[in-house]
Symmetry: C3
Subunit: 332 residues, 3 copies
């Protein structure tokens, strides 16, 4: 394994194997496994869990990290090919990425969607350009259309909590003050489908996930024996659910058009998960969210502070699964 | 010891024991004592000494640190309970603190006073809320009303310099362009009283320390055999002083009212410590300040650059005593 | 060796010896050589290579680093002596530097030219003040007039690539949206002269390097058997060149006068290195630049992306030579 960019790049058995390694490292720490190894972390977007969990994962395996955040003590960076760089950006990623890679044994890059051209974002145009510049093992710390470490942590969390592999996984759109990227919802549906679950995407009109995203999840479901479908019917979706996975995302229909997006969202204030959403779910239904979460906009205090919420465990498992990813990338 | 939040939470003998451990670690380094341990540092306010000394303390014991600074590469954070999070803050501390704690073996949190409601700040409403969210050993890196690591470092500094335990400790208010919190002056008078010193708080009219702060110090003085009093009489205060400890703080009388505060301060420009303040002190009188210090506003160059100043030693001792605190929290 | 501030502080043989150590550490890693040692990094200006390469150099020798960036989680800093600090800066470097040094075994400081007074900048007034405040081994991470780590990395890069010691080294001025400091061009010409090369400074009228810079390089050339000259004649300069080293710098003639500088620069858009610059050079001529580089302003994509460019190798060698510098400073 030389790159960890998307769960879809691996067979289901390989992912299960990686989760097994994560569980073993959790139970039997290997505090010197990556001694002397250096992880370079390039953050083109903000982060808390990713920033802290990658560093702590390396530390717990005996390795170290260097963090670079353009604009925060480091030059602002240009990403456009062919740019005439007479503006604010002093450095191009075409230099920054190979230079940082040259100091490190493994790299992580975080680079959100540009949010202007849906096809380009779904094609990972930007992230692929970055990945091509890096000649070291590489981890996707969230790209335009994929957040594989989050997906892996969520899978591990469901395994830990004995959520049935054939259980009902409801990804529900929730409200947010502005349009957010598609990386997490895309990765979540694909992961749950790959796990073999009955995946239901619950969202209001206009927030359909792109066909490409659904088809990718469907392919995974066909192989695992799961299923994937979309609905606007909250009652149907939630009935019997084992997991309610809430996520904010922008309308693909109005991609890059903030005003049209906002108009579409203005009457959707009730897309905030409350305790009442769990009346007909499975009694043990869990509430999941990748965080950060807008309290009382996307999800009510009563849910986040209640017994169904496993959001802190999901976040903790970021560190756990990333230990496994880093271990595989550096030690095979 | 599971938390280090305030010197008042400990017996005098326990603090003396901690200072003894600090001295031993200073003389006989234990570079692997905390190998494999991770310290999470959450800075809701700026810092230099705290940021550098906690990291270096961990490093010198073989441990490592993760630094999180909201708004600096990390999401801005909400602290109000029940907030409807439709503004700039993307993450609530109710998630951020337990998540960061889950990656770490010990945590430090810095969170200054809000500066609006004196009673709430003195009651440590905010910091207690944060502390309750953290299920790992915790260090107060400066809260609204307490800065125990600074107090411990100052105590250690006086011990090193043979400042008499019954010596005269003068905490003097000094000028500053704006109102600053009460954490350091509150902790300094309490610490000096706990050490057994003759504590004099010298300040202009309107800058009396809150009754609650004085009473806490008086209780410590009664147990240690020291004393605590306040005065506006600079001559009386400085006569025979063994330590002049300068600190800026806002008027408790006008708490949260910047304009009234500024009016009160406008004729107080001579509350800047100069060499002339030491004419009647003990000949060996030391000048102390927690830093950062506004040169030629709070204290003149001649004092900071002169032989009485021990401010750099105080800052160095932050690292020394924090090694002891971290050692106790992690190894008992 | 207790300070690494400028190549001119050392004999040529000492630099060759340091480069030898760098090569040995590169071939035979010593992952525990600096175990337990702490490097303090004070960045008064932005950085990518310096920030990442110093940290990774320490890591690869078993040591650790603390990074302080004023204004980024840390107080803004005052540098003027005698300042009445009633403005934005909360802390003076007269405290900040000795405090940070007290936590560390070795320090690095980055502090660019002020860009107002050429004589003061060339005299390193500011950096010398900082260095005087530091009682630990110290590395210049770029000062007003010197960038010795870059110079050392460039020398190492030319050695690796078998660029002849008597080869022709052309430092060429290139365009930039604003006036940049003289540290890198000054260090580059001095380094190449010290290496024994035929050094040609190619620049438009008005961008002559200061006499003091040229004389320093000439002294080094006299000792090494090299030579140094300036020209505006691009054809003459480039003919037979073994290295084209591009760098942006502000007009010393209009130092601190941005408008006059900009007028002088407005017709100099063709001072952007393209493939055509290499028609008459040595066939193996290399393109060097310290980075960050403004693509298609200072240098064309075709050059940076072409086979002549060794900019990433130069950046990588920052880490390599800094390992040697840190090793010497801490282990002798």
């Amino acid at each position: 394994m030389n790159r960890f960019l998307d769960l879809a790049d691996f067979e289901r058995a390989q992912i299960k194997d990686l989760l097994g390694l994560a569980a073993r490292l959790q139970q039997h720490p290997q505090p010197n496994a990556l001694a002397g190894k250096v992880l370079g972390l390039l953050f083109l977007n903000p982060s808390l869990r990713t920033l802290a969990s990658f560093q702590s994962a390396m530390m717990r395996l005996g390795g170290t990290s260097v963090v670079i955040t353009p604009g925060q003590g480091t030059w602002q960076m240009e990403t456009r090919l062919g740019a005439i760089m007479d503006g604010a950006a002093a450095e191009h990623v075409r230099e920054a990425v190979p230079v940082l890679a040259s100091y490190c044994d493994v790299m992580g890059i975080r680079m959100f969607a540009e949010g202007r051209d849906l096809a380009a974002d779904l094609a990972e145009t930007q992230f692929k350009m970055m990945a091509d510049l890096c000649d070291k093992p590489l981890v996707n710390m969230e790209s335009a259309a994929s957040h594989p470490c989050q997906a892996l942590a969520d899978w591990h969390t469901m395994d830990e909590l004995n959520v049935p592999e054939r259980g009902k996984f409801v990804l529900t759109w929730v409200n947010h003050p502005r349009a957010l990227p598609l990386a997490v919802p895309s990765s979540a549906v694909h992961m749950a489908a790959m796990r073999g679950m009955e995946v239901v995407v619950l969202r209001p009109e206009g927030f359909e996930l792109p066909q490409q995203v659904m088809e990718k999840a469907e392919r995974a479901a066909r192989e695992s024996g799961g299923s994937v479908r979309e609905t606007t019917d909250r009652n149907e979706a939630l009935a019997g659910a084992h997991v309610v996975y809430a996520k904010e995302w922008g309308s693909p229909r109005h991609y890059g058009d903030d005003e049209a997006e906002a108009r579409l969202r203005q009457n959707l204030g009730d897309w905030c998960v409350t305790d009442s959403w769990f009346r007909t779910t499975d009694p043990n239904c869990r509430f999941m969210h990748c965080l950060p979460a807008r309290r009382n906009v996307a999800v009510a205090d009563e849910v986040l502070d209640g017994p169904r919420s496993v959001v802190v465990r999901e976040a903790y498992n970021r560190m756990v699964v990333q230990m496994a990813v880093l271990y595989r990338l550096l030690r095979g």
